[in-house]
Assembly symmetry: C2
Homo-oligomer: 207 residues x 2
């Protein structure tokens, strides 16, 4: 018999999580296509054949990583932010929580944006559908600001993608060993984004 009793839902046993994390790390460094299964196997102290005891295929591994990352995004960014009633504070919560996820060590979350092309169409659609929910949630938060007449005169779709650009670019340049801590950087980004989008606080509060 082959692996994965619960094929997709992620977060099974210790070993599986370890494989996801290490694989995500390597995919992040080298890219999905440039990474061989032997690479990953070696990183988790297995042979390639041993690795296939835990996963079904390379594409399946990528899909599992992305599902794992989506779960983290949902539980650590979306769900807590939904609880925030005030739209401005909700926006700040989204930026800060998503920023934290992107700057912490686990690279699964960056795979989510960089390697969708590696998925088969069916799996890709599943992930994109889940991402779309997040997109609408953020855009809806901006629309709510518009209702309160706090939003500048901008198209909310453009504003949302603009914000995502700034956020998702973070892992490409942020270094934990650098001069600024992740909290400092995230705070600054939140301030820039909020003052770029909202007309209320002409000088945003400091982090």
């Amino acid at each position: 018999m082959k692996a994965s009793k619960k094929p997709v839902i992620a977060a099974e046993c210790d070993r599986t999580i370890d494989i996801y994390t290490k694989a995500a790390q390597i995919f992040h460094e080298q890219g999905f296509d440039a990474t061989s299964m032997s690479n990953i196997a070696a990183a988790v102290d297995l042979t390639k054949a041993g690795l296939y005891y835990y996963i079904e295929s390379k594409e399946d591994l990528l899909f599992a990583i992305m599902n794992y990352a989506m779960e983290r995004l949902e539980t650590m960014v979306i769900e807590p932010s939904r609880e925030v009633a005030d739209p401005e504070q909700r926006l700040r919560s989204i930026i800060e929580r998503h920023g934290r996820l992107l700057t912490e060590g686990n690279k699964a979350i960056t795979i989510l944006t960089d390697e969708i092309e590696g998925l088969k169409p069916k799996h890709r659609k599943q992930i994109l559908d889940r991402k779309r929910v997040y997109f609408y949630f953020v855009r809806g938060t901006l629309d709510a600001q518009r209702a309160e007449k706090k939003l500048r005169n901008v198209n909310t779709t453009v504003a949302t993608f603009g914000l995502f650009g700034t956020l998702l670019w973070l892992p490409r340049w942020f270094r934990a060993e650098g001069r600024l801590t992740s909290e400092e950087v995230i705070g600054q980004i939140a301030n820039i984004a909020l003052s770029g989008l909202l007309s209320t606080s002409c000088e945003a509060q400091s982090a």
Copy 2:
């Protein structure tokens, strides 16, 4: 004898430009590693062997595309913007010109950000060095705003990367067939960025 008398400077004959453009398009769609040389050859109506009459290697093709893209960035964004004396107007010029390059048809410019890992270290360093010049140019423009006390209380490095994120994310979502024209989108992005970074115009002027 093999190809390329002027090996790297790009923009040789018609056919070479055609190859660069088509290859950039396919690299953009499928990724560098996922694209085979036969793919590219077929797209320009050649056999793989015929393609190698024009290029030296796959990596060399990527490098040529990136040099070509850097040249366009330098002549169409950096050089004209250097002429703009006022820092705020210079920043707007950078955003608008770079935005235009990113939303027009030629995909070479997006390869520049997405496929650096495909280059050999030596070539990668050359491209990164050239990119760094651009980075310092933009950050310098923000520093100039600070000197004029028009910049909000933000770290200019964070602000620069934040701006790059918004810009470089553009080609991932913008569709020329969509509701908004590229000029409208670029104008909105410029307004958001300028009001996010500068404290002068609390409501930025419309495009």
